[in-house]
């Protein structure tokens, strides 16, 4: 096996609840690469991330993350789940949320140390939230909340960063900043970003994968054709003339 290979999926089939959503997916990613996975909603993007994290066991096929089973390699992964899933009124402040990212280095029955807390402050500064430690999580804007969750993923110093629709709640002008941050992080870790926003992803990633139950394309964003996209989305895609990138106008978003 290639030692720089971070993720390797071979003929992976997986169910979400009782629906078969991944059908024979092969995927390989090496360290320091930024992969964007695009595809329609319900196409299995989130399931793929959860398979890589070992949260969903594939019914067939093999998954290797950093050469190990996903359950064992999970401690090297940073995960930012789809944003809308938590209770905004939950009585918790930003520092407590980000500290969860240090859980692995502590484990059961051990308190977070001063070092953990200073690490949290450092990462919060890095994502541009230096003075937010004591704020209740729900009092932050959507984009700020998203950066808190990214900080939580980063504070564990992951070898692989998995992001599920991270830009969904970020204002357009903040997205540029967000991708610049990922650009910097790329030197230290492999990044997999899941999104239905084809154009934004294509501009920033090194590799793009089109997923709709099956993997329709995996390669450089430059090589991605409108036909390929149309097959992924199972519908004609309008390529906008003034852009050199494929852009899908979609009504269901």
């Amino acid at each position: 096996m290639n030692s720089r290979e971070v993720v390797k999926l071979e003929d992976v089939w997986a169910y979400y609840d009782s629906t078969l959503v991944l059908k024979g997916v092969n995927l390989s990613l090496t360290a320091g690469r930024f992969l964007g996975i695009i595809g329609p909603n319900g196409g299995g993007k989130t399931t793929l991330l959860k398979v890589i994290l070992g949260l969903i066991k594939p019914s067939r096929g093999q998954v290797r993350v950093l050469g190990q089973t996903p359950e064992r390699s999970r401690k090297f992964a940073g995960y930012v789940a789809q944003h809308n899933l938590f209770d905004r009124a939950f009585p918790i402040n930003v520092e407590e949320v980000v500290l969860m990212g240090r859980y692995r280095s502590r484990g059961l029955l051990r308190r977070y140390s001063r070092e953990d807390r200073s690490e949290v402050s450092r990462v919060l500064e890095r994502v541009g939230l230096p003075d937010f430690k004591d704020r209740q999580i729900g009092s932050l804007s959507g984009g700020e909340q998203q950066r808190v969750f990214i900080a939580r993923a980063l504070v564990s110093e992951p070898a692989i960063l998995l992001l599920d629709e991270p830009t969904a709640s970020i204002a357009l002008d903040m997205q540029v900043e967000f991708y610049e941050l990922l650009e910097k992080l790329k030197a230290q870790m492999a990044i997999i970003l899941v999104s239905h926003d084809v154009s934004a992803v294509s501009v920033h990633v090194d590799e793009v994968a089109c997923l709709n139950h099956r993997l329709f394309y995996h390669g450089s964003p430059d090589g991605l054709s409108a036909e390929e996209l149309a097959r992924t989305y199972d519908s004609p895609v309008h390529v906008i003339a003034h852009s050199d990138l494929p852009h899908r106008e979609s009504k269901d978003q």
């Binding site: 009782s18 918790i92 969860m100 859980y103 502590r106 308190r111 564990s156």
Partner: protein, 273 residues
């Protein structure tokens, strides 16, 4: 008007109220924050089966209730995690099953069950010293467990999936948390009874939440508010000669509604000026 507190039974009642307030203050915060009020109601009602079993076997109904509360908590937790049955369905079934078992056991038990009513609606005035010791032990277990697993409980309350990714043994700790709810229910049975447990588990914590964003401070505050409610309700029930458990709940609910009514009025006034 406070000379009533000189009596032994009144002192026991105050102690029971304090112990109950501590338990429901700590555990109620998780119940409210993690939104598992319904599962707590299920555990409370299922424990009635244990009260019945206690009568039937001629042993302490509180011991039977402890056993049933723990068993139903673990049952609900395991079934909802390991099977595809929806959690609220499981809760509904165990809720009714426990009550039904209680009714059957009591029917089969020899003789008459005289203080059955006090298990359903509580009677803080008849708490014997032995039960106080039992409640104290349960309180210590609850405090020790929350102290040990505070950071894990915070993760699984806020974001259980992330907990799994971060390596927290989420399932076992969720079962531990449900067991704490079960123990709290047992502590509260003496004070307000099985049917009214939910109110003391939720109202103090829900009120405390209005004043702080810290889980720890919420616990302290909720315990204090709970103690205030039980003492106030107890005193009022004595003065007005009403059922103690129900009066404690009425005091709590009135305070809760008053707080929300007043804070709405206040906000409306603020926005107008």
């Amino acid at each position: 008007m406070f000379e009533v507190f000189q009596y032994q039974f009144m002192q026991n009642a105050l102690l029971a109220g304090l112990l109950a307030a501590i338990a429901c203050g700590i555990v109620g915060v998780y119940v409210v924050a993690k939104r598992i009020v319904f599962i707590s109601g299920g555990i409370a009602h299922a424990s009635f089966g244990g009260v019945g079993l206690g009568y039937f076997l001629g042993m302490s109904p509180v011991l039977g209730a402890t056993f049933f509360a723990l068993a139903s908590a673990l049952g609900m937790g395991l079934v909802s995690r390991r099977t595809s049955l929806p959690e609220d369905t499981t809760i509904g079934i165990l809720w009714a099953l426990g009550m039904a078992l209680g009714v059957i056991f009591i029917g089969l038990a020899p003789g008459y069950a005289p203080d059955l009513f006090s298990y359903l609606f509580g009677n803080i005035l008849t708490v014997p010293t032995s039960d106080l010791v039992f409640m104290l032990v349960l309180d210590i277990i609850i405090i020790a467990t929350v102290w040990l697993f505070y950071k894990e409980f915070l993760v699984i309350s806020f974001d259980e999936e992330y907990g799994r990714v971060a390596g927290v043994p989420t399932e076992i700790l969720y079962l531990v948390m449900l067991s704490l709810i079960a123990l709290t229910v047992v502590v509260l049975i003496r004070v307000v009874g099985i049917i009214l447990v939910i109110a003391l588990l939720t109202i103090p914590a829900a009120l405390a939440r209005q004043f702080t964003h810290s889980l720890k401070k919420m616990m302290l505050l909720a315990a204090g508010i709970g103690a205030l409610f039980t003492f106030g309700g107890l005193w009022l029930s004595f003065v007005l000669d009403l059922a103690s458990g129900a009066t404690i709940i009425l005091v709590s609910a009135t305070a809760f509604l008053a707080y929300f009514g007043l804070s709405r009025l206040w906000r409306r006034k603020q926005s107008r000026s």
